[in-house]
Amino acid sequence: MKKVVMDISHVTKKFHIRNSKEFFTAVDDISIELFEGEVLGIVGESGSGKSTLARCIFGITAPTSGSVSILGQSLAGKRRKSIRGLRSNLGFVFQDPSGSINPRMSVFDAISEPLKLRGDAKGEITKRVEFLIDRVGLSSNQLVRKSHELSGGQCQRVAIARALATNPKIVLLDEPTSSLDLSVQAQILNLLEELRSDFKLTYFMISHNLDVIAHLSDRVAVMKDGKCVEIGESASVLTNPQHSFTRELITVHSQNLESDPILPPNFDLDHWQDGPLNKWAFQNISKFLPVQEIAPSTNPFQFHQQPLEALESLSVPNEAQRSSLIELLENTHTDAIVVLRDGKLAYEKYFHGMQPNSLHLLQSISKSMLGALFGEFIARGVIDPDQTLGHYVPELKTSVYGSATIAQALDMNVAINFSEDYLDPNSEMARLDRACGWRHNFTGEDLGLSSFLPTLNGNGEHGKAFQYCSANTDALAWVISRVLGKPYAELLQEEIWKPLGSMYSATVTLDKDGLAVGNGGVSTTARDLALFGQSLLNHGFFNDQQILPKAWVDATFNGASKEVLVPAYLSSLHPEGSYKNQWWITGSEKREIFAVGIYGQYMWIDPSTKTVIVKFSSIPIPVDPIHSRIHMSLFRAISAAN
């Protein structure tokens, strides 16, 4: 249960209009709870009542009606003196840094003033001020200066130090970076985030800048004409706004005017997956496809670094010869590689402009995340694996999914008429891509996932032979979203992405009707995806909780029944290989499992050496048997390295 540190209840503020009997309502019946440790962002245009609300909440002006209580104590009806006592739990940082510091006071005086008001002893004050000035990144010889001798960024640091002087629990940030230059704004945002996690602060942050809000906030409240028109998790408000005003604000913010200089000049929706365009496209999906955000954990997992030196000098069998690791990574068009050994970061490298915080398209590794999500809901009894897909989504009843069960779709043994040929523009796969919005829909038909999937039909008995078919996963994503009544992205976010302790948001692409592309549309950072692999390695227990059901993880590692026929491309690479719960199983003695996506996306999990490998690539063609073999020997060499 989250602790409420501030309860704003039905606050209204009216101002009398001069020379008339009328009132102007600046804040209109606002109720918000602020939870401990969160960042609540307030957005709205000028005149929407943001600052008046803040002034009411912090007891600077009294609301006309309604009440505010801080740490369980109400401000209403209190004398000035006791409001002052309560206020030491609050810190204030205002928009104009130089205007908020008395020009006749030195930096020392400015920071120490709240401490003097509180009646602290002189020696204590000096110690505290010196601690604070260092903490906000200024040196103690700046204490004698006055505000006009400081730059705007330095003034704002002083204002932050002053706000933190009395060790407040809650800090009000009223447009803290609006009057600062971009490069200085970044310094201040970094500082605010650092202080928040070090001092366990709760921020009430007002800004008209959506970038700033999106960067820091856990929740967002949108204000218009004094009313709070929308409040919710920042990921869902900013990606899936409900109120028309929020939507307008976001569209305006993200929309480029008719010519979009951010797309490469040679961009082509029919060929972005192929090289060399994919080097850009896989890292920039949200620039050309609609996506929904999957918000990260508020308490990210902290990696321990333990570099595995053996990897630096690793020599890997590469067809007839041997190559060094770095050579092989370059030859296989690697964008990112992360290796975890015993849960610690053993190796990490990025190429082609990728960074630890860049997202990369997972392609079909997305399927393996969906598999885990089904594992969770099947274990809870929400979904019955032996029911057909059509049972849950009636639109699918007349298609092949009217007879195929959830378990059969998860294990890819639905007997379906479907050619998974990525290069044939007339294959069902290409039609699926068009339905997902991943290619131009030149046919003119009204193609979305919900109109395409019901047209697929079958050709025999289900459950007999393995047949890899991407449409199965999209149908499953539709099912789970329908059963739970929530967007697929939100389910991944709540059940997997947040519990994992992810550091960054992930995204999933949407078709024209807003259905998630479960078969390959997820983008994540390499590190965060490695956490997912680690959770499987730990039998589903990770970040102090059972994220995935142990029985499901064990069943996945055990692989599919031997009675299911396996095609040659799998058995030639892995003689005992099979496919289970949207994961590939090598069937070797080491009991490795892996997730794979076209153009060289891999996650390899080897329980025998407790190794997780994530590799993102941008190989020019979707499938290449030579590359598949090289990757297997690469991963086995890394796993065995000691």
Binding site: S151, S183, Q185, V212, A235, Q255, N256, I262, S505
Partner: protein, 316 residues
């Protein structure tokens, strides 16, 4: 392509008698092609607005200017020809619409004064003003013309200012932070309006802003200024996706977003130098992670692939 404006090595010093107080512009090089938009981006105090003032010939008398400004059809711009060009061939819109209008005259009176100055026939003026206001999306022209500045919102005033700038058809429009004082939704409308007017009328534009994303939205070419010099210049796409100069990289890395949520933003340490007169060598060196002894000399602006870059550490 014809070049409409060419600024070469523009330098401005502020003087007190013979003594140089500050050198806010230390080498601005710009080239704008007809019908295209050049985005000039940089932080406070880097010389963006002063560049615009120099082009308009509006520098204060204490300023001493070197370098050349060449305008198509007029050769080098000098004070003697500016009277004929300013406002008619080169028009400008300013950052703060509230303070750009005179509060004691109504909009109609102010637009009429401008029209008279452009030698437009008296009888044609009312009709022309209604037409110009309609072109900036204000169909209620009669009411607008009768209004005083304080009776209109910031967005409406900015539209009026654009209408005023376009009374005669300029070849070059200088827009100095035209959306900074406006709310996001209104700013976006104004940006869209400027773009569509540009497409219809074909004027070139010098678009000045500290807002990198606004510049990226409208510009064909972007020039980045730092401490009074252009440090990087190139086609908008190349510059945004492949910034080369350490300052440009820092600036683009400093933009917060949901994607980079709570991750460290690239913060450039320190701040823009306030006095530029005693700078020796590369002005960015004190804040630059790559700086070494080579940077004690001033780097020239040189071509590297599609871009012009002034940095010793790029391309070597």
């Amino acid at each position: 392509m014809t070049t409409i404006l060419k600024v070469s090595d523009l330098q401005v010093d502020f003087m007190s008698g013979e003594k140089i107080l500050n050198s806010p512009l230390r080498g601005i090089n710009l080239e704008i092609e007809a019908g295209k938009t050049l985005g000039l981006v940089g932080e406070t105090g880097c010389g963006k607005t002063l560049t615009a003032s120099a082009i308009m010939g509006l520098l204060p008398t204490t300023a001493s200017q070197r370098g050349t400004i060449e305008f198509a059809g007029h050769g080098f711009l000098e004070a003697s020809v500016m009277g004929a060009i300013r406002g008619s061939e080169i028009a400008m819109i300013f950052q703060n619409p509230q303070s750009a209008f005179n509060p004691i005259f109504n909009i109609g009176a102010q637009l009429t004064m401008v029209a008279q100055r452009r030698n437009i026939e008296r009888g044609r003026i009312p009709e022309l003003l209604i037409d110009r206001l309609a072109s900036v999306g204000m169909s209620d022209a009669k009411r607008i013309l009768a209004s005083y500045p304080h009776e209109l919102s910031g967005g409406m005033l900015q539209r009026c200012m654009i209408a005023m700038a376009l009374i005669s058809t300029p070849k070059l429009l200088i827009a100095d932070e035209p959306t900074t004082a406006l709310d996001a939704t209104i700013g976006h409308q104004v940006l869209g309006l400027i773009r569509s007017l540009q497409q219809r009328q074909g004027f070139a534009m010098l678009f000045i802003s500290h807002d990198v994303s606004a510049v990226a939205k409208v510009s064909d070419v972007i020039s980045v200024v730092y401490a009074g010099r252009v440090v990087e210049s190139g086609p908008a796409y190349d510059l945004m996706n492949n910034p080369q100069h350490p300052y440009t990289r820092g600036l683009l890395g400093a933009i917060p977003s949901a994607q980079k949520r709570r991750g460290q933003l690239t913060a450039i340490p320190g701040s823009v130098p306030s006095s530029l007169k005693d700078i020796v060598g590369c002005s960015f060196a004190p804040r630059c992670a790559l700086a070494d002894s080579a940077c004690s000399k001033e780097p020239p602006l040189v071509h590297i692939n599609q871009q012009l870059i002034a940095c010793w550490k790029v391309g070597t």
